[in-house]
């Protein structure tokens, strides 16, 4: 459905349309059943949500408790004097979720983690790792700069920390444990870290309230001290990154800090594979894509991304190429796709080494980059199809890829009946058959395939069985057969299991490939005959099937003496 229609429908439900737009919506609904269905569904959901809203009550008012809390916190009637009222920043109250996990920012995640640790460690007199005593030595009177550590790098004027935040970080179990183990010292002695702390963006960052939220996060502290992270910090590309202008910009971005606190992200970032990936130039380019942010924001993606195989795929140059395609990203950011991506079967598929192979296949990348593919992939039915593990196997097949590149195939694939058929595991086998691919490239076949009667027929499991037969393929390539198969009456006949039995007989397929038969099949009388209930009844008769299977019968039919008169 066109985007302008869906926008109008949504605005109608939300009461945001002008009277003129509302009239336009009514006209659309009259003439477009799909739009009408969508409208009715969304309207119903909307009404049910209102009912649900009305079910929610607050058992006990908050106001009484709040009054006490306010008095306790500030002293009665001294609201404005007991605390320093912060100048509230927009992002302090609500992060800009659109920039969550966004673009290059994701690639800079590790840098922030480093800074998080440094700000705590380098700017304090935190005791050296004398493991016998690591507790109770933390100053309580605000923040003093560390003399022992790089005194020339950061001055107390640069870093003004609010002691309550600071104390929380220093007193956290994780921080204490890491300090005791010596991991923090090792980190702070790391030349890369020292360089990082000298970065021009550092003082500003250190004064950012959101940064303290981040620095308090236990998983963050742990991540920063992990060996894999150390390795990353020493990597040349990391050095380039931290010296870049983008980094300075990033470090000032509160939403990035918000991102870095996201539990899924920290979990992901602790993954050794992620660190490996983050060193990859292709990934950096990929991460710079704005659509990637939209994708990454969605929880199922994070789940997918935690899968080790995903990293293998993501580090693949072909995948990066695919992922740079804006249209492809639109698909990936589609809720249907992310839902698919969170499906265990899909993850299973993604874990398969074959997916890397697939992503390496130039034809597949080419296909995926084509305009029609993203549309197709956004189709829920396709998503369902793609969950089929055999689909991956199919997608690797050169013949199939060749076929799928055809724009008519994309059109076909969007057809609901086709999707129904394609969900059938036998279809995958069929579609992987080179003969089928050859057939499917034929524009006449595509025309046939778009015919709903044919699709209905093709969804029959027996038909699938039959269609894998090479002889049948030859027959199907016959224009006359295509014509016949498009006939609803033929579809009706073909749904009959006895017919399928007959049709699976090599002798029959041979017959059906015969010019005389083609002649016969084109004849409207034949279609009429095939549609005749009595004929179907006959076809159901075991004796008829036996007759049809008889070599003598086929001989007769092949002779032309039988079919030609009938055709007349």
């Amino acid at each position: 459905m066109k985007q302008e229609i869906t926008e109008l429908i949504q605005a109608e439900i939300d009461g945001e349309n002008s009277p003129e737009q509302s009239r336009e919506v009514q006209n659309i609904l009259k003439n477009n059943p799909e739009a009408e269905k969508l409208y009715n569904d969304l309207r119903e959901i909307s009404e049910n949500l209102v009912k649900l809203k009305n079910e929610i009550e607050l058992a006990e008012p908050l106001s009484a408790n709040l009054k006490n809390d306010l008095h306790e916190a500030t002293g009665a009637d001294k609201r404005t004097t007991t605390k320093t009222i912060h100048k509230i920043k927009k992002e302090e109250v609500m992060p800009d979720s659109k920039t969550f996990f966004s673009g290059k920012k994701a690639a800079y995640f590790a840098a922030i983690a480093a800074v998080a640790l440094l700000v705590v460690f380098v700017t304090t007199d935190f005791p050296q790792p004398n493991t016998s005593d690591v507790t109770g030595t933390i100053g309580t009177d605000g923040v003093e700069r560390a003399e022992r550590y790089r005194a020339t790098q950061i001055t107390s004027a640069d870093v003004i920390l609010e002691d309550q935040h600071y104390q929380e970080i220093l007193q956290s179990d994780v921080f204490q444990r890491l300090a005791a183990s010596g991991e923090l010292q090792e980190l702070a002695n790391n030349p890369a870290f020292i360089e990082l702390a000298q970065h021009s963006a550092f003082p500003e960052l250190a004064n950012n309230p959101a940064f303290f939220e981040l620095a308090r996060d236990a998983s963050f502290i742990e991540l920063s001290a992990s060996p894999a992270f150390m390795e990353l910090a020493n990597h040349p590309s990391f050095a380039r990154m931290r010296n870049s202008a983008e980094f300075a910009e990033l470090a000032r971005d509160a939403s990035f800090l918000e991102l870095a606190r996201h539990s899924s992200f920290t979990e992901l970032a602790r993954n050794a594979d992620f660190l490996e990936l983050s060193r990859n130039a292709n990934f950096a380019e990929l991460a710079a894509n704005p659509s990637f942010a939209e994708l990454a924001r969605l929880f199922p993606f994070a789940e997918l991304a935690r899968n080790a195989s995903f990293f293998e795929v993501a580090a693949n140059p072909s995948f990066a190429e695919l992922a740079r395609n804006t249209r492809a990203f639109e698909v990936f950011a589609n809720p249907e796709f992310t839902e698919l991506a969170s499906n265990p079967a899909f993850l299973e598929m993604a874990r398969s080494s074959s997916i890397a192979e697939l992503a390496n296949n130039a034809s597949f990348v080419d296909l995926a980059n084509r305009f029609s593919f993203p549309d197709l992939a956004a189709n829920p039915a396709f998503a369902e199809l793609a969950r089929n593990s055999s689909f991956l196997e199919l997608a690797r097949n050169a013949s199939f890829v060749e076929m799928a590149r055809s724009s008519s195939f994309a059109e076909l694939a969007r057809n609901a009946s086709f999707a129904e058929m394609a969900r059938n595991s036998s279809f995958v086998d069929l579609a992987a058959n080179p003969a089928f691919a050859e057939l499917a490239r034929d524009s006449r076949f595509m025309e046939l395939a778009r015919n709903s009667s044919f699709l209905e027929l093709a969804a029959n499991p027996s038909f699938m069985e039959l269609a894998r037969n090479d002889s049948f393929m030859r027959m199907a390539a016959n224009p006359a057969f295509a014509e016949l198969a498009a006939n609803p009456a033929f579809a009706e006949l073909a749904r009959n299991s006895s017919f399928m039995e007959v049709a699976a007989n090599p002798a029959f397929t041979e017959l059906a490939s015969n010019a005389s038969f083609a002649e016969l099949a084109r004849n409207t009388s034949f279609a009429e005959l095939a549609a005749n209930p009595a004929f179907l009844e006959l076809a159901n008769n075991p004796s008829f099937v036996t007759m049809m299977n008889s070599p003598a019968f086929f001989e007769l039919m092949n002779s032309g003496r039988f079919s030609m008169p009938l055709a007349r």
Partner: protein, 175 residues
């Protein structure tokens, strides 16, 4: 005082009148709680979130910009607090919208299958989608108000809302 506008009440608060703030709390506690509940999925947590959000709003009232509606500013704080609360939760902790609890008055209504399915479907939405659904359908906020609260462009709000609805539709009707 109960009839005074938000603007007047805020001005009174800034002059140190705590009763005016109390009026604002009573005026907005239910919608704020509802929003928090929708995001955190637990009535006790939602109470805490709402309470913290009101406390923060009180502390930071001098920073409130009266170009925006007061309730938009409050929603902003509540949504932020609720999202933070979710981040602090243990991974994979059950997140069920309107979890039945001792004080949960709508437990009885959970028997309604339709309502239950809808709750489940909302629960399973990605967080960002859930927020727009709640703000639009529970709080009946306009695109513009949602855009102010979430600090997103109106077109992003619309597209996120549409995606959320399509996902709900799929979950509810499988189409």
């Amino acid at each position: 005082m109960a009839e005074a506008s938000d603007k007047i009440l805020v001005e009174m608060c800034l002059k140190g009148d705590n009763k005016a703030f109390d009026t604002l709390v009573r005026r907005y506690e239910l919608p704020m709680y509802r929003t928090a509940l929708g995001i955190v999925g637990d009535s006790d947590l939602a109470r805490d979130v709402t309470q913290t959000a009101f406390m923060k709003s009180w502390e930071k009232l001098t920073a409130y910009n009266d170009e925006y509606k007061f309730y938009s500013w409050l929603y902003r704080i509540v949504v932020h607090e609720a999202l933070n609360c979710n981040r602090g939760k243990k991974k994979n902790s059950p997140l069920s919208l309107y979890q039945p609890g001792a004080e949960n008055p709508h437990l009885i209504l959970q028997k309604k299958e339709e309502s239950q399915n809808l709750r489940k479907a909302i629960d399973r939405l990605p967080e960002d989608y859930k927020v727009v659904i709640l703000l639009r359908h529970f709080e009946e906020l306009s695109y513009k108000e949602m855009s102010d609260i979430l600090d997103l462009e109106v077109k992003t709000v619309k597209s996120r809302l549409y995606s959320a609805r399509i996902l709900l539709r799929k979950k509810l009707y499988n189409r």
